[in-house]
Amino acid sequence: MSLWTLYFLLLKATLSSFSGLASLPILREDFVVRRPVLTDRQLNTALVIGRTTPGPKGLYVVSLGYYVAGYPGASMAWAALVTPALLVVAMLGVAARFTGDPRVKRMLRTVVIASAGISLSATLPLGLDALTTPLAWVLAGVSLVILLRTEVDTLWVMAGAALVSWAASFVNLTRG
């Protein structure tokens, strides 16, 4: 498979989805079923890597690109991931013309409030997946309190939680 074909197939999949893993069925159809250049095992491995690295879950696409064509394939996957994001610049140009309108301001306000509800619902699956031990509950709770009561950078909170979790593994506190 040529790098351009790889780019356009990955771009098609990312353009067809609005969240991290929504492109998965299209990618499986294109790379596992129609053109067997990947196996289901590689697809699953890519998902695991995407979940265990920082950043969006959609980064598993980079892993797929690597499996198809090595580092050049991974570069094409990065390009396919970031290309759709540039559309937002044009959309911003249109939207910015209307942001002074009081009704648009009120709409943005309700969208902000709704986004808090959406974030809360996104916390549920993440919590179910992550909070499997008493230590994980404590880390989540302490992180919440620190973030609400102090100005500490979120990265220090995450780094501290990672360090505590690592240290706790020596006394078996990371088991459920």
């Binding site: 890519a46 920082p54 950043g55 970031v82 409030i113 509800g117 959406i118 990265l155 979790s165 593994s169």
Partner: protein, 179 residues
């Protein structure tokens, strides 16, 4: 609000975009804390605009969010810097990890540390939810704000975020502020 230098912009997107675990949600929450609450680069309205536009942009919401906030802060150059800084290092990490996956999966200590970071990201998301709605929880509008957030939460469990945001925008059209 003053536009930050590109180097400072790159620094923030580089750090938060590539070091926050748990997916796009916690990462956007961390950006909200950094750029709205701490540095005050963005107003809550600009954050809302970026959030809404990133949701209706196809592809990875987080990258669209970074591009949009970068464009709001420093124009097209800011958009490119934000997008590049937030995406390139983590993509390189994924490619390198894929190349050495069998070896990396045997590093138990790394997996345990990541588990701790992901647990903290639950706290980050919850804190972000509160800091997003806190400015709107006033004596006059607190009940309506809580109701809207609660209904959005319930709807997003059974529907798509895009639909919930669309409905919220319709509610906003008729929303009347109480003094």
């Amino acid at each position: 609000m003053t536009a930050p230098p590109l180097a400072q912009l790159a620094n923030v997107f580089l750090r938060i975009g590539n070091l926050t675990f748990g997916g796009g949600g916690p990462t956007i929450a961390a950006f909200q804390r950094e750029m709205v609450d701490r540095r005050q680069w963005l107003s809550p309205e600009q954050f809302a605009l970026s959030y809404a536009l990133s949701r209706i942009t196809p592809g990875t919401n987080l990258f669209a969010f970074c591009t949009c906030t970068g464009a709001l802060l420093r124009g097209f150059a800011g958009a490119l810097v934000a997008l590049g800084a937030a995406s390139i290092p983590s993509c390189i990490l994924v490619a390198v990890l894929t190349a050495g996956f069998d070896t990396a999966s045997r590093w138990g200590a790394v997996n345990v540390a990541i588990d701790g970071a992901v647990a903290a990201s639950v706290g980050i998301l919850l804190a972000s939810c509160w800091s997003i709605i806190a400015p709107y929880v006033t004596r006059a509008n607190g009940a309506r704000t809580a109701l809207l957030a609660g209904v959005s939460f319930g709807l997003s469990l059974i529907s798509t975020p895009l639909l919930v945001l669309g409905l919220a925008a319709v509610v906003g059209w008729f929303w009347r502020e109480r003094e």
